[in-house]
């Protein structure tokens, strides 16, 4: 099958949305359930197979390997309807360091299901950054279900950034659960979502801190306009001595949009300390007025504030 057009389109959109995908960098590019391109590099093993509706892939960053450039994953579909299911497992062995950059590209989707089931293991002293950027089209109700389970070992570090800002969200069920089981392990998960029209944005972040002196931050920035709906559920649980966690959520509501925020801070060990902040509502007047006094219109001021928040 010749998929060179799909390849070119996906590459082009991914480049516009973030870092360009270079052919000599590690990458896996998938259209529907076709692996169009895949490349491993020293220190990274990739094992991928096509399934009925997507792919199943495992990535292993070998012990001590430090990947200088990001590993690019690109999952997309240029069609209007269909379904894509991505199953992945990423393991960073002891002392490994890597950044995975995942682009999910559905520029024409109208009726579509995109589900991802990811298992991530961050080994002892390993350092993993995971960025997931979605590019959706201006129409339709794509359903997006990214489900990620992460385990972080001793002195391991997991940082993730999820962003769904371009185009419509559709229906989102973002669900990330991180268990920081090792001493001095840390996790920092950030989710940025811009809901429009009648988009439905569910963001659920959970961090359990069972390693001594482990730390966790669950951060969400959700902007909702028109008739969209957003719900943030952020839970950080302190379950070990010296564990420290924070939930930080801002939801900006415009038009007829509605928002809910449920920050849950729980402590099951007396030596743990968990805090939270949540701001939900319209943009504060003093922020708008501050910019309007510099000559911006109210709408220009809103754009500046929103783009800063979602950056």
């Amino acid at each position: 099958m010749n998929l060179s057009n799909e390849y070119m389109s996906l590459i082009e959109i991914a480049e516009k949305a973030g870092e360009p995908i270079r052919t000599d960098d590690a990458h896996v590019i998938v259209h529907a359930n076709n692996i169009i391109a895949a490349k491993d590099i020293p220190g990274l093993e990739i094992d991928a197979e096509e399934t009925e509706f997507g792919i199943r892939a495992s990535f292993t960053v070998k012990a001590g390997a430090v990947l200088k450039k990001p590993v690019h994953l690109c999952f997309g579909h240029l069609g209007k309807e269909g379904k894509q299911i991505i199953e992945s497992r990423i393991v960073l062995e002891e002392g490994a360091k890597a950044k995975f950059y995942s682009h999910c590209i559905f520029p024409n989707a109208v009726k579509f299901l995109h589900a991802m089931e990811g298992d991530i293991v961050v080994g002892k002293g390993a350092d993993m950054t995971y960025e997931e950027v979605h590019v959706h089209g201006p129409e339709g109700k794509i359903e997006v279900r990214p489900l990620t389970r992460v385990v972080v070992d001793e002195k391991g570090r997991y940082v993730s950034n999820f962003s769904l800002i371009e185009g419509r969200v559709g229906i989102l069920y973002l669900d990330v659960e991180v268990d920081v089981v090792g001493w001095l392990g840390s996790a920092e998960i950030t989710s940025k979502v811009y809901g429009k029209y009648d988009d439905i944005c569910n963001v659920k972040d959970t961090i359990r801190l069972s390693g001594e002196k482990s730390s966790g931050l669950a951060k969400a920035r959700v902007v909702l306009k028109d008739n969209s709906f957003g719900k943030f559920f952020g839970e950080v649980q302190g379950a070990a001595d010296g564990s420290k966690g924070h939930v930080d959520c801002t939801e900006i509501v415009q038009g007829n949009a509605k928002a809910e925020a449920v920050p849950v801070v729980s402590v099951v060990h007396p030596g743990a300390e968990i805090t939270h902040e949540a701001a939900i509502g319209r943009i504060a007047n003093e922020k708008l007025w501050g910019l309007m006094a510099k000559g911006l219109t109210e709408n220009e001021a809103i754009d500046v504030i929103v783009s800063g928040l979602l950056r």
Binding site: E286, K294, T297
Partner: protein, 250 residues
């Protein structure tokens, strides 16, 4: 020079729903190329006056009019007033997540080069590395206030309203504030400076004393300053001495 003042506040009263008068028939003018001071203790209504001139929606006059270069601006929005050349350096500037100092400063002058931004920062004694910092919690209140002055430096408005530029921690010394006035006047701006400190009055061409929303005195800064120092602290008005004007929150 023209006879029309740059800014003319004419019998302006701003009242709250509960009937409280935040400003009571205030008359004030700022001449072209002048530094005009407004003195008053905490709670006198100085910030209210700044908001009213800037056009904040909840500070629209219940009566009276505001003229700018002879044009009635009483019903203009903040944006419109700003585009006519009025701007305000806030007493407590807002924070903006995800916006860098460089981007923030460029809101005041779109085409400013990196060099010009650095020059503006240098003027208020901030190092160039600040340009890449975010205008959020990472900057102290004092740093954000200085940034407001740098914005004004770049914007070169016709009228710069400075709300307490000389107070608070981590701020400019009096001499630097005076240097800022000079620079703004050189640029062709006029200044309305609001302060509760008497020494700043020395740097003004004319001054007003505001008390309980009313202008008590207007004239030579020395005279206004004298009055302020001798009669206002402690307050000599038996009606006001009971703490009514000294209970401002911050």
């Amino acid at each position: 020079m023209t006879d029309t003042p740059l800014l003319q506040v004419d019998e302006v009263t701003v009242t709250r729903e509960n009937g409280k008068k935040l400003l009571d028939q205030v008359n004030l003018r700022v001449g072209h190329g002048e530094v005009t001071g407004v003195l008053g203790r905490n709670g006198a209504g100085k910030t209210t006056l700044a908001y009213t001139v800037m056009g904040l929606p909840s500070y629209r006059p219940n009566s009276g009019r505001i003229f700018f270069e002879g044009k009635d601006i009483t019903n203009l929005s903040i944006t419109d007033r700003s585009r006519l050349g009025i701007t305000l350096a806030w007493q407590y500037p807002a924070r903006y997540e995800g916006i860098t100092v460089a981007e923030y400063l460029r809101l005041s002058r779109k085409d400013a080069t990196r060099r010009e931004l650095e020059e503006a920062l240098d003027f208020i004694q901030m190092e160039p590395f600040y340009l890449d910092r975010f205008v959020d919690k990472a900057l102290s209140g004092g740093e954000r206030k200085r940034l407001e002055l740098a914005s004004i430096y770049l914007m070169r408005p016709k009228l710069a309203i400075l709300d307490e530029p000389d107070s608070g921690v981590d701020l400019l010394a009096l001499g630097d504030v005076i240097k800022l006035f000079k620079k703004l006047i050189d640029f062709g701006s006029s200044v309305l400076v609001i302060t509760h400190r008497d020494d700043i009055a020395s740097a003004c061409d004319r001054a007003y004393l505001l008390c309980n929303g009313k202008v008590m005195l207007e004239g030579q800064p020395v005279a206004v300053k004298q009055y302020f120092m001798s009669l206002c602290s402690p307050c000599s008005d038996p009606l006001l001495a009971g703490g009514v004007i000294s209970n401002e929150s911050q």
